[in-house]
Symmetry: C2
Subunit: 413 residues, 2 copies
């Protein structure tokens, strides 16, 4: 099955937004084994949309539309698809009543054009919109398959995953269970990881193994097919075990998790409290930890000692250490971690000092960084890093390493 | 002139990257008065690329290609365009020698396939690549215009701006100087701003006024055309003066600046030092300020009092205030700002306390926020906000308001 993804909306052609919907759908369709051969974007113009539909019908089996299902007169995807199929639009009662409910609940006045949102192409399977008003549609006609999805990603994504996907699998006659699992790795480069599992990558068929690098980490997406869910899970386990045996020391979590979520989970398991003393990172570690709802139980706070004065007079680093070793030193990182732990009365103190750039500092090159970790009842550890990249990249990588070190810390209190 | 943007690369169809090139080029072309009617994405497949080129020739005057100019056998944009034009590829000496230089400089071995990068379509104007190896091309043939640009945004964007743009302006016969200026506004909604300048928006022709909302702020892009630069600047000044008269109180800066850059500039002008006491924002204000290189002279640091305990025992907020008014209160924000100023010995202390969500706290709804500003020699001010949105959005908006309040603070020390 070959697909074309058609984004509808002048905001795309004016460059006000990027077509991230096409990226999401491409990934999803690839994971179902559907080849995407074209993306098309067309504005809110019926004639040009018609041209795009006719061209897509020539070259694709599956046409996936995003956008143009809203209430305004500019929204005309379903009108134009209906016309191309020679069908009419009919009102979908369930959608209409949920639109009405929405207006009652939010105490807003429902204008007549909102009723337009409940119109669907005759004979289509309606895809419910759990996060907005406009329903989607699934249609099979003349050997082609049409899927219409809303434009806003927060409506489109769940509609695709929860409703459209199963229709596509039915259409493909897939009876197998397809299960994916993403393994996330940190502190290892893509080429090193691929080298370690080269033979597995070369021999892959079921499960498939797809590496992806980005944002300072590497992931492996494992996808297994089997008649039964149990069978697919067993296949996944088998390949995962082999991978973990080789590169498990860099593994930190599954699927959509982050280093910070995992670090927070770890704090919970250990029943640890945490505070950070931050210099080059300016508060980024604390910000990332507290961005997670419910983090307050374990993450107590931070002192950002951006000026050396503050290291000494607020945090309490010894004048001696600063004069003898400088602020960018193993000794300073050690004291920062110990002092913040003491001052905030936590189980763990973490510290960051180093050079974010663009200029060198105290004779240290850009990217020279120390991360200190002081844990109750344990000797303080200081990790030294030599990072490359922009100021922003170095700050980001530094706090990611902080979360990673915390996560890999195996001492018991 | 109508354009189609054609992205070439299987990585786009697999969803590994989003087509941000099309967004950038759409914005750029819109600002030149070129209508973009279609975006197309096609993989590294000669037949399907040919189909895409033929379709685009039917419906556009200008075809802009991104990607597929690299050294591997998968890169075939110029080969396919050359074939469609009945032209051959020739070596471009300047590009070839700069590719050779690159390998000498980086001490890497140049493989033969890299010579392929210096091939260009016969009769094309070569667009130099100042940030990579593959040159771009500009071609006029049979009434159509073809532009080929490399795929990596860091190569494509400067090539477009520095080389391709002037060719398009020549083609359009534009002899006028075109100058743009972006005015940035905060703390005013898009609809309110548009209402205030409705008559100017309706009467616009030269300069044009393009409003854009996003990321919690509103911008107006003013674009003037005139035979002379002086004349264009005078036209811009005239319309800007009218706009500033109406909504100048919400204006904070020009072009690519940010609230934080402007706030830092203000600290420099006043020769103020600053520290923040942060609760719901978890260090985000400090992180944003220190993300700017050279901020250390003015931004001294922060205490993140994520746990109420820390507000009392580290920052020094009165037990009384916390017990009587709670941590989410005007009184607590006031003390936090004053205490951090005192503790860090700065000219200014700024504080953030409130509810980021998703749950209510201390009986306050999500989005109820206090921002305190203590300035040497001045009465402390506390601003109260009622924000909407996600946890992340509320945190972001809160620190933006902090920078904005600081920026608009007109007291002298």
């Amino acid at each position: 099955m070959n697909a074309e993804i058609i984004g509808v909306g002048s905001e795309l052609l004016l460059g006000q937004i990027a077509n991230t919907n096409a990226q999401f759908l491409s990934k999803q369709l690839a994971s179902l084994g559907v080849n995407v051969y074209y993306h098309t974007v067309v504005g809110d113009n019926p004639k040009r949309l018609e041209t795009a539909i006719e061209a897509a019908k020539e070259r694709a089996d599956l046409l996936v539309f995003t956008g143009g299902l809203g209430p305004t007169k500019d929204d005309l995807t379903k009108e134009t698809v209906a016309k191309s199929l020679g069908r009419s639009l009919v009102s979908h009662e369930e959608s209409l009543s949920s639109i009405k409910d929405y207006f009652v609940k939010t105490k807003r006045v429902m204008t007549p054009n909102n009723e337009k949102q409940a119109l669907v192409v005759e004979g289509s399977d309606v895809l419910l919109n759990d996060h907005g008003m406009a329903p989607g549609m699934y249609i099979e006609a003349d050997g082609k398959t049409y899927i219409m999805l809303p434009g806003p990603p927060k409506e489109m994504k769940p509609m695709f995953e929860n409703y459209a996907k199963s229709h596509i699998l039915d259409r493909l006659g897939v009876k197998d269970q397809i299960i994916s699992r993403v393994l996330r790795f940190f502190a290892i480069g893509e080429s090193q990881l691929e080298t370690e599992i080269e033979d597995l990558l070369e021999a892959q068929s079921n499960p498939t193994i797809a590496p992806l690098a980005g944002d300072g980490e590497v992931t492996l997406r494992l996808t297994a097919k089997h008649e039964t869910e149990e069978g697919a899970l067993a296949l996944l386990k088998e390949i995962e075990d082999k991978i973990q045996e080789r590169v498990g020391e860099y593994f930190y979590g599954y699927d959509q998790t982050t280093l910070f979520s995992e670090a927070l989970k770890k704090l919970g398991e250990k029943n640890w409290t945490l505070a950070s003393a931050e210099s080059l990172t300016g508060g980024l570690f604390s910000e990332r930890m507290t961005s997670i709802s419910g983090s307050g139980e374990h993450m107590r706070g931070s002192i950002v000692t951006y000026h050396d004065n503050i290291k000494e007079h607020v945090l309490g680093v010894d004048t001696d250490v600063l004069q003898k070793h400088g602020a960018i030193s193993e000794q300073c990182a050690r004291q920062m971690a110990e002092k913040i732990k003491e001052k905030f009365n936590t189980s763990v103190g973490i510290s960051f000092t180093g050079v974010a750039g663009p200029n060198t500092a105290e004779g240290h090159p850009v990217g020279h960084v120390f991360v200190g970790l002081a844990i109750e009842g344990k000797e303080t550890v200081v990790h030294e890093l030599n990072l490359q990249g922009t100021r922003e990249g170095i700050r980001k990588r530094t706090v990611n390493y902080g979360a990673y070190y915390l996560l890999k810390e195996d001492s018991e209190l």
